[in-house]
């Protein structure tokens, strides 16, 4: 049975709108990390992780393969995850980074759409920790964590729903299991 061209023409705008909406919701939750480019050169340790698309699919596939209850829980917690970006910088001395760069990210996350979930301030190490969440309807579409200390900065951006409680609970149990690397990629 061949679909009529008229039907396809009618469905095309709907599909296009849906794609745009999903892309927009994803883009909205994305933090602009470009502001941190200048900090990277000053930091003594840099951790930069970008997981999205195919890499995320591969990682999820491993979570399914691993026969471990914690892995199953992690898989459950990140079931709807679209992407996760992590930037962490350690500095040898205090005041080596410009606080304005971090404040700019905080300002971006104060824009409509984001909700300031938690705000932690501590005089010890001049710690400032903020957690922001974004919801699309009733579903969580993004999480952002911004941490700044005298010698440390970390910005985390999660796109897509994620079980924060479960993730926090499993924090100490994310040990990486032993893998047997296959020599040849199975033919598909």
């Amino acid at each position: 049975m061949k679909p009529s061209p008229n039907l396809l023409l009618k469905l095309l705008p709907v599909v296009f709108t849906m794609l745009l909406a999903s892309a927009a919701s994803g883009q909205n939750a994305r933090v602009q990390f470009e502001r941190l480019n200048g900090i990277e050169a000053k930091a003594s340790d840099v951790v930069e992780v970008n997981i999205e698309g195919k890499i995320l699919d591969l990682a999820k596939r491993v979570l399914v393969k691993v026969n471990d209850p914690n892995a199953k829980k992690i898989g459950q917690a990140i079931n709807g995850l679209v992407a996760i970006y992590v930037r962490a910088y350690n500095f040898e001395k205090e005041g080596e980074y410009n606080m304005a760069d971090i404040d700019a990210i905080r300002a971006e996350l104060s824009s409509p759409g984001w909700e300031h979930l938690a705000n932690v301030r501590s005089k010890r190490n001049d710690q400032k920790l903020d957690v922001y969440t974004m919801f699309t309807g009733k579903d969580m579409s993004g999480v952002a964590v911004v941490l700044s200390e005298s010698k440390r900065i970390a910005v985390i951006n999660v796109i897509g729903p994620i079980d924060i409680d479960l993730l926090t609970e499993l924090g100490g149990r994310m040990n990486i299991p032993k893998f047997e690397i296959e020599n040849e990629v199975p033919k598909q």
């Binding site: 997981i51 890499i55 990682a59 996760i84 970390a154 993730l167 924090g171 893998f179 690397i181």
Partner: protein, 214 residues
């Protein structure tokens, strides 16, 4: 003529020759044992090509003797083991009789050793091990000692119980090894790193909130 005869066969007289003989008598031949000459002196010292073979032959003989001794010792030790095992079994019997065996506070199921048995088999120094006994022993000492029983005619030298000591085998290691491709492993490691950092920061918030509530 006389002179000539004396010189020839000592017949007749010859004063000159006799005087000469008297003077030279001390140098005359005497029938005594010849002087002993040492072997080294008698034979010129020379290296024989067979000497090295003799040494090797001696060495080979020594090796054979050592092997025979080792075999003899091994056989002797094995016989000694048997006697020791029977002693152990008697101890077990005694424990069972006194009810002190920690592993079998009551006489073990299938074990034909008890007070009455002890009285009956007082003279019988060796314990007969049944299949059920073996099972009990295996349960008590898994993977370490295996007890096997070979029953033979009574008149024969009895090898009632034989213990074979084996090294404890390590248990099969249970790992969560998963066969994945290199790309999958890399992706998984990255995701775990990202999630662990995320959960670490979220935990800080949770801990701070917990402290505030308290």
């Amino acid at each position: 003529m006389k002179e000539a005869d004396y010189l020839w066969d000592k017949s007749g007289e010859d004063a000159q020759l006799e005087s000469l003989e008297a003077v030279l008598k001390k140098f005359a031949y005497a029938e005594i044992d010849p002087p002993r000459v040492s072997h080294a002196q008698s034979k010129p010292e020379r290296s024989s090509p067979f000497d090295i073979f003799k040494f090797r032959f001696a060495l080979a003989g020594l090796s054979v003797a050592a092997t025979c001794t080792a075999l003899g010792l091994y056989t002797f030790t094995r016989d000694g083991d048997n006697s020791e095992i029977s002693f152990v079994d008697r101890t077990v019997q005694q424990k069972a009789a006194n009810g002190l065996d920690s592993e079998c506070p009551e006489p073990c199921a299938g074990t034909r050793v008890g007070k009455s048995d002890m009285s009956n088999t007082e003279t019988d120094t060796s314990r007969r091990t049944t299949n059920s006994d073996l099972a009990v022993n295996d349960r008590a000492m898994p993977n370490v000692i295996k007890v096997s029983h070979t029953a033979g005619p009574k008149k024969k030298k009895k090898k009632s119980v034989r213990m074979i000591y084996r090294p404890v085998r390590p248990l099969p290691q249970v790992t969560t090894a998963v066969a994945v491709t290199r790309e999958e492993a890399d992706a998984y490691n990255k995701l775990m790193l990202a999630l662990s950092i995320t959960s670490d920061k979220l935990r800080i918030v949770k801990d701070k909130l917990g402290d505030t509530r308290r």
